[in-house]
């Protein structure tokens, strides 16, 4: 390569993306500092592409390629799933998409499934734990305690509800498949091993509704506690069979109730949607 300026054949190769990455990098490094080569590149590019009108737009294109942001693994995965780049960008800030979170979900699900296999008394542990996982994910997906850019986000014109729902969907989409897998391998469950699905959705929906009046992590803690209390209290004491058989929560009327609760939660969220556009934190620093 000519050390002072870039040969035309290389510029053509660069425009056609036929040069190696190393050569492209060298060309870009030179273009950053050399105005005459930028002009030459513009001429070459215009000869090859009538659509490129000005040297400035060519230079913008070069900058765009040089300054391509480094996308995280999550962003690239989401990109591969054909999500729009800006949506992927928003999701990449969801803590529930971190490797640590996903690993712990898998571990807990595997533990619950293994316990069901060893104890041999059905998947009751999975049913108790499973709804708490999406709940924990959602409670820590947004809000001032877990989103370091929370305040900047609230002051931005994008709807807080949209961001919250986007992150909630991300939590559900990563947590539920792991739990479903655990339900499949847990013995003696059959369809009853999936009795956690509707309660999970109900708990998430109520957490979102509650987070319009308090912080999401507090809402999550209240709802999680409520779930455990309901499991203990709503038991058919005269009934027979194991915990799952006697639990009213996992009965068909319990499932119907969960559906209604989920719907009520969503209705509250919809009617209070603008609450996601203001800080819910009270107290704290002045």
């Amino acid at each position: 390569m000519n050390l002072t300026h870039i040969e035309e054949r290389l510029l053509i190769g660069y425009c056609e993306l036929s040069v190696t990455a190393a050569t492209a990098a060298a060309i870009e490094a030179h273009l950053m500092t050399c105005i005459s080569c930028r002009a030459a590149l513009a001429t070459v590019a215009m000869a090859g592409d009538e659509g490129l009108a000005s040297q400035e737009s060519v230079w913008d294109g070069v900058l765009e390629r040089v300054d391509q942001p480094t996308r995280s693994l999550i962003e690239r995965l989401l990109g591969a799933m054909r999500l729009r780049a800006d949506t992927a960008k928003l999701l990449a800030t969801t803590s529930a998409l971190r490797l640590a979170w996903m690993t712990s979900v898998l571990l807990v699900a595997a533990f619950a499934a293994a316990a069901a296999r060893m104890e041999g008394d059905g998947p009751w542990l999975l049913l108790v734990i499973a709804p708490l996982l999406p709940l924990a994910g959602v409670a820590t997906a947004y809000g001032p305690a877990f989103d370091p850019t929370y305040e900047i986000g609230v002051a931005a014109p994008m709807s807080g509800l949209r961001l919250t729902l986007l992150r909630t969907v991300a939590v559900i989409a990563t947590t539920m498949p792991a739990l479903a897998l655990a339900a499949l391998v847990a013995p003696g469950g059959g369809w009853s091993a999936f009795a956690w699905v509707l309660p999970s959705l109900a708990l998430v929906s109520i957490t979102l509704a509650l987070s319009t009046v308090t912080s999401p992590e507090r809402a999550g803690a209240i709802v999680g506690l409520g779930w455990l209390v309901a499991l203990v209290v709503l038991i058919d004491r005269d009934g027979s069979g194991d915990f799952v058989d006697r639990s009213l929560v996992f009965s068909s009327s319990g499932q119907a109730t969960a559906t209604v609760v989920a719907a009520i939660g969503l209705a509250i969220v919809a009617s209070r949607n603008t609450c996601f556009d203001l800080m819910t934190v009270s107290g704290g620093r002045r």
Binding site: T70, D86, K89, P148, I152, S282, R285
Partner: protein
């Protein structure tokens, strides 16, 4: 950037604004109009500056009172969105997603600011990072950047879209003197025609940068005027003496070995030129020195 509805000259109009946290009144019945130019909010910790700035940044709703920003009320979501499209905000302790580079982070905020076209967004991200002088490190991860650089990243995101209202909560905290000088330079350039409200502990920031100074203490406004006027409050009340007057409430040893007194004259003292700091201390000093919150 101005649309036809933003005809009011004052970018910020607060009328009888009050905000409480439990029994504590953080902002107490504040009425204030702020126009284009740089206005500095000065006050000790716990004075209510951050709460007031959060109200001006639309993130916190007051318990009572009216807030009008850029000609729009903050009372409903639709008009809040209109304000936010022209708003830049640096919170007191801006956090970052630490796996992000400076470019990624500002790009993320640009997505939140609804700049959807990718090419245009990246151009704008590069522009604001250039304004704060971070072009050479924009692809470094934020956790690798120094504290001063992180401050500049936070300022960069606020400049996205050239906002007409810029709210900055202690933007110079943690900056060394050279960085503070650079910040003043960049802010006076960026402020061009916009309404800028910033809070600070630094009286010299206010003297160097702000056309208007508002001193806040215990939730109320104690002074509103120019920096020179604030210094003027201490005219005839700043004394230099060789020894500290035992009765003095506000006195400290200066670099040249003299003891500077603000308030009543000690014996064998001579009058000195008042500075912004002296006027500020006279307003809030005595009570502040008794408070443990003073850092």
């Amino acid at each position: 950037m101005n649309d036809s509805t933003t005809t009011t000259t004052a970018g910020v109009v607060l009328a009888e604004v009050t905000k409480r946290y439990g029994r504590t009144v953080a902002v107490d019945d504040v009425t204030l109009s702020i126009g284009p130019g740089i206005t500095g909010l000065l006050g000790p910790n716990g004075a209510g500056k951050t709460t007031l700035l959060r109200v001006i940044a639309t993130v916190l709703a007051p318990d009572s009172g009216e807030v009008e920003l850029l000609g729009h009320t903050t009372a409903n979501a639709q008009s809040r969105e209109l304000i936010r499209r022209q708003l830049g905000y640096v919170p007191q302790e801006p956090g970052f997603h630490r796996q992000f580079s400076a470019f990624d982070f500002v790009d993320y905020v640009a997505v939140l600011k609804l700049i959807t076209d990718r090419r245009a967004r990246h151009d704008e991200v590069r522009r604001v990072l250039d304004v704060v002088g971070l072009t050479s490190v924009m692809h470094k991860r934020i956790r690798q950047l120094s504290g001063g650089m992180r401050r500049r990243v936070a300022i960069a995101q606020a400049l996205l879209g050239s906002p007409t209202l810029l709210v900055l909560d202690e933007p110079t905290a943690g900056l060394d003197p050279e960085q503070r000088l650079r910040f003043r330079e960049l802010l006076s350039n960026a402020a061009n025609g916009a309404t800028v409200v910033l809070s600070t502990h630094q009286t010299d920031d206010v003297a160097a940068l702000c056309q208007r100074v508002v001193v806040m203490h215990s939730g109320v406004i104690r002074y509103d005027g120019t920096a020179a006027g604030l210094a003027g409050l201490a005219a005839g009340r700043v004394w230099l003496a060789d020894v500290r007057d035992p009765a003095a409430q506000l006195a400290w040893m200066t670099g040249d070995g003299m003891v500077r007194h603000v308030g009543e004259p000690p014996t064998n003292a001579r009058l000195d030129e008042p500075r912004v700091e002296d006027g500020y201390l006279l307003l809030v000093g005595a009570s502040v020195l008794q408070e443990s919150s003073w850092r």
